[in-house]
């Protein structure tokens, strides 16, 4: 089984874990990410696990250790896309991984890490006002003003 690519995107590293994972591959990912943080002077790591149908205590530990090492090297790690069944199982297993930062999507993680992302997703929040801007922004037909 081949290695998992660690992709630099600006000052963030992006890792997407796909499919069945051998222990050795998971362990080498840990090395690869730590080395890449150093090499690219990264300040954030996003690990997407939306393709994983299982995380056991070994893989949970690998994720927690990647986050721990990254922190020591000055980079924040965010794990994204964990499936419901995987989350329930991890918690039942006793692994709540409180040190691990998480986000629903890669995009959310990028926002958390302060990385610029395209704002094509302004579908959200049809009525209420963005906190940082006093004016209501409505992409649609918001023309009820005078």
């Amino acid at each position: 089984m081949s290695q998992i690519p660690v992709i630099p995107l600006g000052d963030v590293l992006f890792v997407s874990i796909q499919g069945e994972l051998y222990d050795a591959v998971a362990l080498s990912l840990q090395d690869d990410v730590t080395n890449a943080i150093q090499a690219h002077n990264a300040r954030g790591v996003i690990i997407d696990i939306s393709a994983l149908d299982m995380v056991d205590s070994f893989l949970g530990r690998v994720l927690a250790e990647i986050a721990g090492c990254s922190r020591l090297l000055g980079a924040d790690t965010v794990v994204t896309g964990m499936r419901p069944a995987v989350a329930i199982t991890l918690v039942e297993l006793g692994l709540t991984l409180p040190e691990l930062r998480t986000a629903r999507t890669v995009e959310d993680a990028a926002l958390m890490l302060g990385v610029w992302v395209s704002s094509r997703t302004s579908r959200a929040a049809p009525v209420a006002v963005r906190q940082d801007e006093p004016e209501a922004m409505d992409g649609g037909s918001g023309t009820d003003g005078p």
Partner: protein, 302 residues
């Protein structure tokens, strides 16, 4: 009273099996008069007799195996479904389990009467032994019937329980990125499990960033319920969503403290409105009244 020897027992088993086969018609005819058969097979009397015959056949097979008390005897297999149908029909008619058991017990008389008549020429010891054997055989039939009824009941309980679980967990979208689950009634393990699963599924489906678990309608919070809440919160967090528990009534707050339950890092709010305000804040929104509309009192003016 002396223990009957093995030979006597074997011959008792054989004579009961013989008599049942030989007098199958008569036994079935008499059974067809009894409520158990008469009220279930209502179309024709022949139908009842036929059903009775298949039960007699089953008893004969079990008798010849020599183990009249064997509940699992394969001899009963051909009639298990029929017995199930009969007992189900009786319970639908409002007859209690105990009454059905009594109706099955009533089948014994016909068998014993015929047995005594058939074995008139035999020595008293054999006759006595055969009657005992037949009694045990019919007692087993009664147990088989009860077992069937209990199995059916169990199945209904499981099915209804599942329906109850599935029907009772609405997940409400309050805002883009915010969902709420109002919990009502008693939270047992199975329901908590379903609540947890539908909530986490909703996080994915609704792209929720914040989840509000409202426990206003929960009657009591014990250690187990608290544990489930913590697990739900922890799972949601692993998926990248934040959980807020709202609607903790004063009495429940006291119970939680008295039980020494540590809700740890769980964010709690007393009302759903407070929780929503916080959730909106978390996704970077705030609520303010429009300058050209009259002010409305209270947080309900969302």
């Amino acid at each position: 009273m002396s223990e009957p020897d093995a030979t006597t027992q074997r011959s008792a088993a054989q004579s009961v099996a013989d008599v049942l086969l030989r007098r199958r018609e008569q036994v079935a005819q008499r059974w067809a008069e009894l409520p158990l058969f008469r009220t279930v097979f209502t179309v024709t009397r022949d139908e009842a007799v036929e059903a009775g015959q298949s039960v007699v056949d089953a008893l004969a097979v079990v008798a010849s195996s020599g183990r009249p008390g064997d509940l699992e005897a394969s001899g009963f297999d051909p009639v298990r479904v029929q017995i199930g149908r009969m007992s189900a029909s009786r319970s639908r008619a409002g007859v209690s389990v105990g009454q059905v058991a009594a109706e099955v017990a009533a089948l014994k008389d016909a068998v014993v009467d015929l047995l005594k008549a058939e074995l008139e020429q035999e020595p008293a010891e054999i006759r006595h032994e055969a009657v005992l054997f037949a009694s045990e055989l019919l007692a087993t039939l009664r147990l088989v019937t009860l077992e069937t009824m209990l199995d059916d009941g169990q199945e209904i309980i499981v099915r209804q329980r599942q329906q109850l679980l599935e029907g009772a967990t609405p997940v409400i979208k309050l805002w883009e990125g915010i969902v709420a689950v109002p919990l009502i009634g008693t939270l047992d393990s199975a329901r908590s499990q379903v609540v947890m699963e539908s909530l986490l599924e909703a996080i994915v489906a609704q792209q929720a960033k914040v989840v509000i678990l409202d426990i206003t309608g929960v009657s009591t919070v014990d250690t187990l319920v608290a544990q489930h809440l913590m697990k739900t919160v922890a799972s949601a967090r692993l998926m990248g969503a934040e959980c807020i528990v709202s609607g903790i009534r004063p009495a429940i707050a006291q119970t939680i403290v008295q039980l020494g339950i540590d809700l740890g890092s769980v964010i709690t709010r007393s009302s759903l409105a407070d929780a929503l305000a916080m959730a909106l804040h978390r996704i970077g929104l705030r609520v303010h009244s429009a300058p050209d509309s009259p002010p409305v009192a209270g947080p309900a003016a969302l």
